[in-house]
Symmetry: C2
Subunit: 245 residues, 2 copies
DNA sequence: ACGCCGCACTCAAGTAGATCAGTCTTTCGT
DNA sequence: ACGAAAGACTGATCTACTTGAGTGCGGCGT
């Protein structure tokens, strides 16, 4: 997709041609950053909203003793928090998982944008609410899903979110996370992630090879994960609903 | 505190007398609800913002097989998501932990309120950002803190958040959660919570009796928990900073 | 085309926390 | 004031996941 930000926002509220134009105007120049580099550091003062255009990034917190937790994954079209510039200090870092292309919307530009278009304002608000819902679902996963369920759930979520910006089909999507990244996202060790992946493969549910995920049986995977896409709150142009046999 | 909503919002942005008056006007009549009852159910269509005036509530998700996770705790002054009415379906329930007194701000009233006072608008925005940060911190706890660290962290957070609305001193605060509630919040069983509590008591860090928590050594507890209050993003009228010896 | 380094993967202990099946204590309704 | 129920607490056993110390493959830079 050429404009993943408009693509994603239009999943929450239909956008007019003018909306898309204003959005494109507000976006600063595209910047590139290497895999594993930081887009913003913990402690920095955020003054703009960064939007991922290509590649994957993550929000991560690091404890004093080195333990690291990935608290969310940012895909093309995701923004690193609208209005984040209202806070004066980042409480987490945003790092590139793959090489990333991103652009910023300066605080003032975002405010004039939402003042001009109530539509866009609503879209940003709903996006923020959906992001919060995703964060809650991660809390649920860590709190009460087992290793295999967590992994299955993450795969279902990634496929669905990527599909929303045209980067996944019903059964396949990119998945450029290393087993270490998965471990840091799911609160487990990479050793255990490795075994759990093999279990999912042995059950014939997925293939994961050269950074690409294939889901052989989406409904069995969703069932295993207790995955219910309602929390993603996409309302416009959903994935076609599954056909009952 | 008589007006916990204004009290809490003024931790993010100083409020004028007019702001406080408008806020009070927008608030609907106070309603009471029994402990353990639901304020909103999963699946309901939210049409107003509920604000807790007295008592504790929680957001909770339930999986199909009965597993339950408390994803956040709502204290006096906390709102159940400004702008939540933009979504059409609750993805989680909000239930009372203790008897709760709450009031609603209808969607339209909130919108005219934020249109009238940019100050209040900012305060709500910052509150939403702080709420998101708290959710991320819970993700971190579940992802990489041990049982005893999680419990210590929760205690530090609750004391700090209650202090922000005048309901806690430096060393003591109400804590009306059962060991079952703690278990559901921290992704563990009540059996294990019980043992962990005893460990905290044995180390002389806390007393927890008849729904009241006393922290005997706040800085040792914070250290154990890796608790850094920065993520709460209170900026106005912080707890006085600790005095270096 | 070669060497290197990150990543996937393996094995053998060790452990935090779960499970189950209780007893004891406090709270609360009538 | 009494009984019932909710909550706190215990002990024995079990297991999902961690730890640490590896091997081998494959993709990347020079």
């Amino acid at each position: 997709m050429h404009d993943p930000l408009a693509g994603k926002l239009s999943r929450y509220v239909p956008l007019s041609v003018a909306d898309r134009m204003w959005l494109a105007e507000a976006l600063g120049p595209a910047r590139s950053i290497a895999a594993r580099a930081d887009i913003i550091d913990e402690g920095d003062d955020p003054h703009a909203v960064n939007v991922i255009l290509e590649g994957w990034a993550c929000r991560a917190r690091q404890l004093a003793d080195g333990r690291r937790q990935i608290v969310s994954l940012l895909l093309p079209g995701d923004s690193c928090n609208p209005h984040i510039f209202l806070l004066d200090r980042m409480d987490h870092a945003i790092s590139a998982v793959t090489p990333v292309v991103y652009a910023s919307i300066p605080g003032a530009a975002l405010e004039s944008l939402t003042a001009r278009s109530p539509n866009l304002d609503r879209a940003f608000q709903r996006e923020a609410l959906a992001t919060a819902a995703i964060q809650r679902e991660w809390t649920v996963s860590l709190g009460c899903r087992s290793g295999i369920e967590r992994l299955a759930h993450l795969f279902c979520e990634m496929r669905a979110r990527l599909a929303a910006v045209g980067l996944a089909t019903r059964t396949t999507c990119p998945l450029p996370l290393t087993q270490h990244d998965l471990a840091h996202s799911l609160g487990q060790t990479s050793v255990h992630i490795n075994r759990t992946l093999q279990e999912l493969r042995a059950q014939g549910l997925i293939t994961l090879r050269s950074r690409r995920l294939t889901i052989h049986d989406p409904s069995r995977l969703a069932e295993l994960a207790h995955f219910d896409p309602a929390y993603l709150h996409f309302t416009v142009g959903m994935d076609p609903p599954p056909i009952e046999p």
